[in-house]
Symmetry: D2
Subunit: 483 residues, 4 copies
């Protein structure tokens, strides 16, 4: 068996991407457009790629193609879609219809894939993208396992190019520790951990990846990165829109499951149990106006939770996780706030603390707030910042969308930006006790105004655990070169 | 005696600024223009300021004013001089002629000053600016002492506003330890240290002032600022022009006295004696073509010297001082280079080390070179920088010229940006032994091409003591907002 | 299956300890005396212990007991063996004879064990102690697997007390990476890693255990434990006797396999490949006089090797491993030497560096060499030490022999002081390339005088990588309370 | 003038030690015995020493000698006084009687001293020891200045050995900032700071001297010595006796002036004003039974004060000063308590924190409390200590009494262990505001039982600011070698 080769002579030959749930919203809005961008930018060039849609509705290939065409978007940096590009991409797509819980459709699917693979020289790489609700994951996994596995291990010949079967699944992975573990176990009995790619599509890993490079590739952070110097770390994920149109769906999960549990916790180890005193949950006013939301919903649309880590480096440093909907701005960032200067001779305290900020949204930037001498005749200090704005610095580089990157990673077999089963379990272990309290209404969501900063209690909590807000300072992003 | 009040209720009343050597180059090109800028910007508004020129040539006030008018320059940020401003300033100037070595002229000067002071309410503040060669300093000091001292201590009345006498002198302060101490002693017998303002007009203190704020007002530098983390510090002062027109004068001093001894050493204590192995001196080819330069001149126009400090914080960190004329660029900066990342997992070493740069010239900037994740699909690292460009950040702030600032400081009695006698002595103690070797031709200046980086030996020395040059990295100053 | 319970309600009931190779030297001199001490000190009291000897020679139980009786030694702290204690212990021993490579003897052994177990309430705990040469390990493992496994999993009843099968093996575990991995694989196919206890009977873990507590339970070591402060670490294992009587056996292994590879490396990760320049091997003069040693033996009886670790904490700190036979003293210790004081105002450098020493032999002690003010009228400094001598501080505590502790650990199922398979592999990976060079005589052992410090080259190597020997300082162990 | 030679070729020739107040208690009990010990131990051998007593009572030399004889004590390490030693010492003493406020006696004294000096080769070294109440200091200083100064500056001849005048004064130096400064000014007008030796006879400098060596001569303390690692520092000075016999005298000063202000503050800079909340003062029950103590006395016999330092190193670390009379033990020590281990895996917190203790009383010792692995079969930790007991380690070294050392220092002109005027002023600045509150009874001494630990409020204060007492741990000083 040469399936999961960890070393990397580039694989070639037939590569089949099967989008399960091809007629659903996720597939149309996210999966197919991402595949299109990868295709257009030439990332598929060294492969003999074929894309299969699978869903219950009966449709012809062309019908499917026509439906999808409307959802394609221009690549970043482009203004329009060239028709030629769209046509080429559409030509790769085949559609198979069938049920998710019976073998007939999957046998047909396998036949279609194999037909193409047979023409190539013994390469059988099959990537199943689950654009499906989690409830059907186990069933579909069983079907794939029995009908659609890569044929690579059936033949051992000099010509054999090998292959693999990989599945890509998206959150939610369960509702709490027990349900998540149950799901993991069901899938785990059918697929090896190395075949499963759990997508954390949005925030977590990208910020974390940046943070890791900054921390470990720069001498200057080495002595700074610990509880002696750092007062607190904030990980913020704010949205300036509500649950419009999908309130009922959201209400089953709430902001903690939707954001905090999924995205924000992957690097943290030795996490202590959450202290109820260090949580604020909120629900924006108007949330329950959505007819699909239960009138007595306690589901939080906002949460601030303080995570504490018990190790030599981080003991005493609160990690303040914050996520919310219908807030006053859209922002995703990590903010590392340093302690005050001890024995400060310049009274910099009044100006504000040093902060190191990695921002993913509204646009990529890294900056360090620091106190400088204000230019001028006086020995006055001012708060300023050292700045690296990616858009300014890397004006011609296209920063890829997370989805595109993750599909590529899956093809390459690189799992580092995906959620491991043990990470998933650890995250659930931390959040499940509090989630159960919400479900049992032992704790209550505080109402907050839509478009506001969220509940004032959240700001007070952050302040209580040591975060010092800088007043009267506005970070002005450097102006871009006029084009 | 209430002369040197250290606390600071703002002083008011009569303030006399006496420019000695008023007809010389320094006075015309630097001193009067600086006074003009201060005046125009309103810094003199709360004082009853009178400016006196003193020199040997006999001239009327108007002749003097006319001569000076041609040298005035617009303030920074202005394009032209408003005639009204110039006139107002010229109106403040009186001229007294007399010898430097006899009492008659100084008695006359005193009479003129007193005449004005007597009209005011008992304030007698007298600032003597020595735009003179050092050789006449002692004589002139004697004259001032016997003829022109502030009258503040002669009268004690409720109306008395007090006053003081201060003298401003400029380098060179001697040629070596002995001559400098002799000069200090001569002046010291006549004036108290608190009355003497030694100007370090150009580089040292400004960079140092910035460095001090950054270091002590920012928590993030606290754990970094020591030999564990810092590999070396470079203090660079490069000029891209030679000694055109003043070669003979320069030849008496050389680059070490001109720049290194004067400017670069004021914060350093516990300095170990210089090791001859850690010095490179050079002389640009063509320097001796100047007919005023002796044909056998050994005077260095370039020097790199490594200074070593024996204390807990800095032991083992070389401070590389570098200054030169006729080099490939004009630059004044402090560059703090950090050590390599130990146990580096990202191989950042190949990219280059972290560096923290404070640049005074070609324009004010502070930036930090660091390794970041290159945006894109791959986990690649790149060298980038966090940047604070003063001109961009403080687009509307006028950064004052050093001269203006220092004159103001003298009026205010703030000596912190001036050279103290013990600092001067300490600096001479460090450099004198090597300077004597140059004078005796025991060490020889290496020739280098005008317009080059200087002798290659200097780069090799820097490399030997630990400086790692970053290849293939060019710092691109952020683009300015289009105006 | 409830075999390897990690949590620990104390197990009770029948416990069978089977000493394989019961008539050999190791068993007589080490294994049975250790069991005797554990028994006498009451560690077996809560168990129904039975001891089985197994070997090829045919003997009655009493013959075996008589032979063993002569080897028993008094417990630490006792002067003689009480006959009553010896008798009770002897009464536990049964003997079974049989071949190592055929089932008959092992079936008989199983029958004997089972006969006793059947009397107890379903507890079947079987500890097989391999006092055997490694060459027979795989065969014996097979026999145990097919004939003698614990019966715990055959019955599931409320009365079942459970049980387990564990095997204890001693070094040498192979001659190099390949042979060690082959052995590991053979055993690994029969027993789970959790059932295998590889004894590192002597040095490594005890020192390491002490070091871990000191390091992680004391705030004061926290900021010290890194390359900023530590110059080098020496791990020394000197013997003052040669290979008397077992030269031929020793010659097959040499000091690197015997000591360094086995004992000294278990905590080290991220170890870089050994640099040949940083190794000195030696052979004492007279070694080859032993008729069992080949006349052209290149086998080292002494080795100093410098290990380098590539991580953030330890980069640049050499770990100097040193072991030898026929040296001038018997010593086992870890010596952490700190760097010089930077900017030292007391010239302490001349006195010697701070050192932290954990000594296992000649007797347990921990001390810290530091510079103090010498008491007296002068401000003189002297090298002194802060000291913790276990024997003085813990005068009434019996410090257990390593063997006894390890047997107890095996019974308790605590594997932390045993060598894990991956640790073993890592250690072999480090040493194998150099061992092969010795075997191929590409590098040569330097001769050294018996009773000396070893080759001078070794001292020079230590000095070259940064170790500074303290001259004129002798550590005087604190005097014991007179008894 | 070659009076205060700072460099040190040993001085020889006539040395006169004049004890002013020779008939008083301090002179008899402290000054003369100390001089005797120095004499007997040979420290005066290279000098031509003469001792003069001066007081008001009229007595013959022999009467004085007889009175003093009874107060001599054997040297440390000796059991009896050899009569021969006493006689030799007595032979050095001359007595002059006279008033403290008129010139006649001092002129006579000068005559006697000069008579002896004239016999020697032009050396005139005069040490005036003030065994007098501070109220007469200024008068006596005036008398010395006008009548008894060293003759060294009157003659300049090749034979002249030079000389000096020095005065040794003892606390109390004033009652508060104003009175202390007044006294300093009065003396300062007559003597240069370099001629004044203010004795801090007991605690402060010795502990501090040790601490400085330990801190600056040992690499291992370098990274530890700051607020990141140190939780608090306690400086303790407990006495197990009351004010027996001198209550009235003591009542004028109280414990803060007696101990804290004098002894405990000399190394501290940047001290913030004392916070009333961080002071506990007490008075032992029975103190006012002394008929010389006012019945309404508020004078503290116990004080705990928390000092806070505003600099980069110490911000946030409380320095807990504690001194008291009639307590349960006699103890003088500095105790540096480290913070808890962050992320502690061994739960060492329960055992107690690391502490570094420098003990001056009951006998000199330095020890470091740390957590070790308890020897034995279990992985248990225990609190133990690394220890340096001076008496054990330096069994044959005589540790000199403070008085003797300080007299020697005065002769040598070494002022480093004396109180400088600015130190004195700084200490008074810190304590005066609170002392005035006590004097005005704005704060009240809490009663405590004689023989107790002092007020419980003091323990609570120490706990509140972070001191963690170790329970169930007793430091056992190592047993001495039997002699």
């Amino acid at each position: 068996l040469r399936m999961e080769s960890s070393d990397s002579k580039p694989e070639t030959g037939c590569l089949s991407i099967i989008v399960l749930g091809a007629s659903g919203d996720l597939a149309k809005k996210k999966t197919f457009p991402a595949l299109f961008h990868l295709h257009r930018q030439g990332f598929f060039e060294s492969h003999d790629v074929h894309i299969f849609g699978y869903a219950r509705s009966k449709m012809s290939d062309d019908e499917v193609r026509n439906r999808l065409r409307g959802y394609l978007t221009p690549c970043q940096g482009c203004e329009i879609i060239r028709e030629e590009d769209a046509s080429k991409f559409m030509g790769l797509i085949k559609y198979v219809s069938g049920p998710y819980d019976a073998e007939e459709g999957f046998l047909l699917l396998d036949k279609e894939i194999s037909a193409i693979e047979d023409k190539t020289e013994r390469s059988s790489r099959r990537l199943f993208y689950f654009a499906l609700p989690p409830s059907v994951y186990p069933t579909v996994c069983k079907m794939i396992k029995s009908c659609c596995m890569s044929k690579c291990h059936l033949v051992i010949s000099p010509a054999d190019k090998g292959g693999w079967t990989r599945i890509v699944v998206e959150k939610p992975f369960g509702r709490d520790l027990d349900s998540a573990e149950a799901l993991s176990t069901q899938i785990g009995e059918l697929f090896d951990e190395s075949q499963i790619y759990r997508i954390d599509h949005y925030l977590g890993k990208e910020l974390v990846q940046n943070l890791l490079v900054l921390r470990f590739a720069n001498r200057l952070f080495m002595p700074l990165w610990n509880h002696d110097n750092i007062s607190n770390v904030q990980i913020v994920f704010k949205e300036n829109f509500g649950t419009e149109g999908r309130g009922g769906y959201f209400d089953q999960y709430g902001i903690i499951r939707d954001i905090l549990q999924n995205h924000l916790l992957q690097v943290l180890q030795s996490v202590l149990p959450i202290n109820d005193e260090e949580v604020v949950i909120g629900q924006y006013e108007g949330y329950k106006d959505d007819p699909t939301v239960p009138k007595d919903s306690n589901t939080p649309t906002f949460a601030t939770m303080v995570i504490r880590i018990h190790n030599e480096r981080w003991e005493g440093v609160p990690f303040i996780l914050k996520a919310g909907k219908s807030l006053n701005s859209k922002k995703a960032e990590i903010r590392v706030q340093f302690k005050d200067v001890p024995g400060d001779i310049f009274k910099s305290k009044k100006l504000g603390r040093n902060e190191f900020v990695i921002r993913l949204q509204p646009y990529e930037a890294i900056y360090m707030k620091l106190t400088v001498k204000e230019p001028g005749l006086e020995m006055k200090t001012a708060l300023s910042e050292l700045d690296l704005s990616y858009r300014q610095r890397y004006q011609d580089v296209v920063i890829p969308e997370a989805y595109e990157r993750l599909i590529l990673d899956t093809i390459r077999g690189d799992q580092q930006h995906f959620v491991r089963r043990d990470e998933l379990k650890a995250a659930w272990e931390i959040f499940t006790p509090y989630l159960h309290k919400i479900d049992k209404k032992e704790v209550h969501s505080v109402p907050y105004k839509a478009g506001s900063r969220g509940p004032v209690e959240a700001d007070k909590l952050a302040e209580k655990v040591g975060y010092v807000q800088t007043h009267g300072y506005v970070w002005i992003p450097p102006t871009l070169k006029p084009s």
